[in-house]
């Protein structure tokens, strides 16, 4: 059986593009009302537009995951797990990032899996094999494993770190503090799980700690330097210093 795992490359490509979008346009997601922002090319976009575009991209990813689910129907998915686990982790990272931007909280494994329920669109259908199968038999699900969820969330922390830096660049001084709290919660969660999780999680813990350290240092600097100057001036000050902490490191 040859599985269409090139789907995965599709997933990776889309998500790569997605992160590119979310990052490079320096969208100020923090404000309750949407801001108008400059596209690199010179056009102007609405933050909500960017998020909606991300939603559409993610729908595309979900479609591909649906195809995988269909292919794996009746198979032991663990036999092929190694082949699609990187793509799924990327998906978790992307979905949880978007969820944080919108709702400022961590998406749960249930919420993720709830969106991975697909209607069975077999090609056999048009051939008229209208067997009297109950409707729910046509429902296909894809279950993200708890370990893929954890690994995706671990990667999310890298995105959050970069978001912190770009927030500083946008003169948004609340987001970094919010982010540091959220990151600490995730960090504490991971240290609660400790070495009982899969081996790969322990490996990512070091990077997670580094990201947290960078965000904590950024907040520290904001507080210390911020004490010297009127609050309202901070925005302008930091806007030219988006590279406060090397944001290139460990992208994706």
């Amino acid at each position: 059986m040859a599985l269409p795992f090139d789907n995965l490359y599709g997933i990776a490509t889309i998500i790569c593009f997605l992160f590119g979008n979310l990052r490079s346009r320096s969208v100020d997601f923090s404000s309750r009302h949407t801001h108008f922002l400059h596209y690199p090319g010179g056009t102007v976009a609405d933050a909500e537009d960017v998020l909606n575009e991300a939603d559409i991209k993610l729908d595309g990813v979900r479609q591909k995951i649906g195809q995988i689910a269909e292919e794996l129907k009746g198979e032991d998915i663990y036999q092929f797990h190694r082949a699609f686990t990187p793509g799924i982790q990327e998906y978790v990272e992307a979905v949880s990032f978007l969820h944080y931007i919108r709702h400022r909280c961590l998406i749960s494994l249930e919420e993720i899996n709830a969106r991975l329920v697909f209607m069975n669109t077999e090609k056999a259908d048009p051939k008229g094999s209208a067997e009297a199968m109950p409707v729910n038999a046509q429902v296909l699900t894809f279950q993200v494993t708890s370990s893929d969820y954890l690994l995706g969330v671990a990667d999310l922390t890298g995105e959050l770190m970069r978001m912190c830096i770009s927030s500083v660049g946008n003169g948004d001084i609340d987001t970094p503090f919010q982010l540091s709290q959220f990151l600490r919660q995730i960090h504490d969660g991971f240290s609660y799980i400790g070495n009982t999780g899969p081996y790969e999680v322990s490996k990512k813990l070091h990077t997670l700690r580094q990201s947290l350290g960078k965000v904590e240092d950024a907040c520290y600097t904001l507080r210390v330097r911020g004490s010297e100057i009127p609050k309202h001036m901070l925005a302008d000050v930091f806007s030219s210093r988006t590279t406060l902490i090397d944001p290139e490191e460990g992208v994706v």
Partner: protein, 227 residues
């Protein structure tokens, strides 16, 4: 649900997984113990005195395979069957050893190559993946290759025991096996490496046959060849 609660919830999943693995590990240990016992029984064929006892030793080994079947039956109860590959790593090693032992028993009994179906039957498992706990082709082949190495040792020890015919028969068998493997397009890394070892076994057995030929101790190699 707070972040803390969510992580506690996930932790539950992880614990359940660990418990399953712990259970599997325990049964696999008993399997390994039985495999070692079967090996000890079969090892006696290398002893000069052991050649006459081959039938009784094989019978003894067959009995021990009953225990294996019971243990595998218990192993099956430890995890949901459709997650065979999730936990495969835990028993792959012992399964290959068992496939080797089954192949070795069958060879000693009938000097033929065991089929995958036979191994599966001896171990009380399936051949077809869909039916549950089964014997993958790779694991079957690995078992056969372990046997090839055991046979090269047996050829040497047969001479010691004064049986000058057996090495010729082993030589034919191994050559046939080697031809068979050469038809396979092995990409799988661990299997390919094991197969490279087969060449060494072939060479070793050929040396034994040469030593016998040169001294006129090998009777009727043609007869052995026509078999």
């Amino acid at each position: 649900m707070s972040v803390t609660e969510m992580f506690s919830y996930i932790q539950g999943f992880l614990s359940a997984d660990q418990d399953i693995r712990e259970d599997i590990r325990k049964v696999v240990q008993t399997l390994e113990q039985t495999a070692r016992e079967i090996l000890t029984v079969l090892q006696s064929v290398h002893q000069p005195s052991g050649f006459k006892e081959i039938p009784s030793k094989c019978a003894k080994a067959r009995e021990l395979f009953c225990t294996v079947r019971t243990q595998i039956a218990e192993l099956k109860t430890k995890f949901p069957m459709e997650q065979y590959y999730r936990f495969h790593e835990h028993w792959r090693f012992v399964l290959q050893r068992l496939a080797f032992l089954a192949a070795f028993v069958v060879y000693l009994e009938s000097e033929t190559l065991v089929k995958r179906e036979e191994v599966a039957q001896i171990l009380g498992i399936e051949v077809v993946r869909e039916k549950g706990f089964h014997l993958d082709v790779e694991d079957y082949l690995a078992g056969v290759l372990i046997m090839a190495s055991e046979l090269s040792r047996l050829a040497v020890n047969s001479v010691t025991a004064g049986d000058y015919n057996r090495p010729l028969r082993i030589s034919n068998f191994i050559n046939e096996l080697d031809s068979g493997f050469r038809l396979l397009n092995l990409k799988n890394d661990p299997l390919r490496k094991r197969y490279d070892g087969l060449k060494y076994d072939v060479k070793k057995i050929e040396e034994v046959v040469y030593d016998l030929s040169i001294r006129g101790l090998a009777k009727e190699p043609e007869a052995a060849g026509e078999k």
